[in-house]
Symmetry: C2
Amino acid sequence: MTIVVRTLSDQVFEIVLERIVSGDIPTGSPIRQDALAAELGVSKIPLREALARLEQEGLLVSQANRGYTVRPMSAEQADEIYALRLAIEPAAAACAAAEATARDRAEAEAAYHALDAAAAENLTEVAVRNRDFHTALVRPGGRVLTTQLVERLAVLAERYVIAHLQPAGREDRAHVEHRQMIDAWLARDGKTVEALVTQHLSATRDDLRAQFGASQ
Amino acid sequence: MTIVVRTLSDQVFEIVLERIVSGDIPTGSPIRQDALAAELGVSKIPLREALARLEQEGLLVSQANRGYTVRPMSAEQADEIYALRLAIEPAAAACAAAEATARDRAEAEAAYHALDAAAAENLTEVAVRNRDFHTALVRPGGRVLTTQLVERLAVLAERYVIAHLQPAGREDRAHVEHRQMIDAWLARDGKTVEALVTQHLSATRDDLRAQFGASQ
DNA sequence: CCCGCGCCTATCGTATACGAAAAACCCGCG
DNA sequence: CGCGGGTTTTTCGTATACGATAGGCGCGGG
């Protein structure tokens, strides 16, 4: 087992990321660096490094001398995110299914069950598990960059999912889709995986469009 | 005319980025933060923010307590980059061609001529112009995220192009391909744009494979 | 009464100094 | 030649200070 040492910057990055994705930090309002640094018990260097990363990631925007704010959500951006995911994820997942080792397969199944177990109680928890699941379907392809990109897009998408799909029966639909996806993936049925992932992402995008259009 | 204020972090980010892409900073050797900060005439805070961004961008890797190094190049990563570009750029460029305003079209043509003018003397200059050109073909689509992603992938790709294609007649091929691309783009011929961009990226990828396989 | 101007404060961006901890290096010893 | 221990280098993080900027507030003039 390899042990990993993590810098404060890294940890702050994840904490703030989760806060943004979960909607904990409101969109549009500026992030007070001193206050947040004090709250997290770190100084401003690691905090600022984390914020810089998050801006690069697309979750924050900054204006010189006015600080960082959470990037506002928009229907256009949601569409873009899903268009990109549709262009990348299905093929990547199909390819990864073919190349997955026994270990990869075990991890993917574990990710599925973790998502399954987390369901319906804590939305942030579900979001993390959902990302993990999608990433686990792609990672075995060995394409580092692609995997990172998929994860990044999943993070960006999750904000919209959390913000707009709490209500609904989407939970059930996604649930059965996930089951189908992992089954086909474990069966190494590339074509079906591709079709299912495409369908899953399209369906989520459509839900999002409906919800977003209605609420906004 | 809107004036933009830029932080030191931003400027350092660009400077270091160009150094990495141009191969100025050797792959694998650690980046001495104090030395680099002193050389750039800034303190370590903006430098570290820039380095954090560059890591997020995929150009650097960091190991806790051992600092940053330039991410080593690999044939696999080059393939990945071009696979992703092929999945995204052609359609995005075609779409943007349809929606480009007169101003967008003028800017795209300007980017083409800038690339044309810069050719064959200074490789770093060509690299920047090349990125600008590719980005200019995509930006008018109004898809911010997609444009950012295209630019990011172009940056990652440029390292390989600079490192492995200096010698060659590729210059000429790329040149006529660029001409064809901008012509079709300005003619709003989406199908042709898509085909040409696909062909251009494929050809570059193939060149890269041949060169990379040979040299490495 | 309303508008513009200047001050004031909060916050950001940056620099500097310092300490802790980890890694790298060196050097003498077996 | 390999190895262990101490020194040095470097990164990582903190604390602190200071200039610059933005935005708010009040005051005075129209």
